[in-house]
């Protein structure tokens, strides 16, 4: 049952990722990406990481994708604007896709890690309670840094996208 669920989710993830890239219309790309993210969230849930699954949906599907969609709509992009790349580029891109996949897989095969079969010890390590403690004890400094980083990103985004008074 779980096995079947995993394979379905994987198929959805890969398929929607492909469709994200191959869609001519950017809005369609965005929609497919949302699907992709949801399926990844499903993976997380399958792995019993409920908190992460929720955060993933909120951040990626909620925040980031909305931001992208807004930008696309703001720019009013249509299919007609998009000039497709020359065939050579497409072939090269495909070759590269195969190449990088091949190299990664063969790297894995070459190193031949001895993967033991997983045994569930039943220790609680990924409930919200545990993660919260880890995050605010061990990783409190990076946590605060991340907060500062987001603040900076916000200020930066406002600054960059603000219309320049002189040129406008």
């Amino acid at each position: 049952m779980i096995e079947i669920l995993f394979y379905i989710l994987s198929a959805v993830t890969l398929g929607s990722a492909f469709l994200t890239i191959l869609s001519k219309n950017p809005i369609h790309s965005a929609i497919w990406l949302v699907v992709c993210f949801f399926s990844i969230a499903g993976h997380y849930a399958l792995l019993n990481s409920q908190f992460l699954a929720m955060v993933h949906i909120i951040v990626y599907s909620g925040a980031i994708m909305i931001l992208m969609l807004f930008t696309i709509m703001l720019m009013n992009l249509n299919i007609s604007d998009e000039v497709s790349k020359p065939v050579v580029t497409k072939i090269v891109a495909t070759v590269c896709f195969c190449l990088i996949g091949f190299f990664l897989v063969s790297a894995l095969a070459q190193t031949a890690p001895t993967l033991e079969t997983y045994t569930n010890t039943g220790v609680d390590f990924q409930s919200i309670q545990v993660l919260g403690k880890v995050l605010l004890n061990e990783f409190v400094l990076p946590f605060e840094m991340a907060a500062v980083l987001l603040l900076m990103a916000m200020i930066g985004a406002v600054l960059i996208s603000k219309k320049d008074k002189k040129t406008a």
């Binding site: 096995e3 994200t20 955060v55 931001l67 045994t119 390590f125």
Partner: protein, 106 residues
Amino acid sequence: MEHVLQQIGIDQYIYLSIILFSIGAFGILYRRNAIVMFMSIEIMLNAANLLLVAFSNYHEDANGQVFVFFTMAVAAAEVAIGLAILVAIYRNIGSIDIDKLKNLKG
């Protein structure tokens, strides 16, 4: 309930994220629309995240998931800034076609 890793093994997750990552790289090279390229980058990031979570489960260690949180935070910041830059570019040259951005040429 039996854990998923007991059923399908960690190597399946590795292959999944390899393919997902390769798709992201493919998208970067294949498209010339900057926003879609951005999406490809997000796909690659998610491939890495997925593997991190899988291994976090495998080792029963929370650190891997904490790392994913930070990746998400950085990704959010990156998207915010990146899109702001794209908007600025679009405003300046009226397009976000990556092939038209050739000002780097010396």
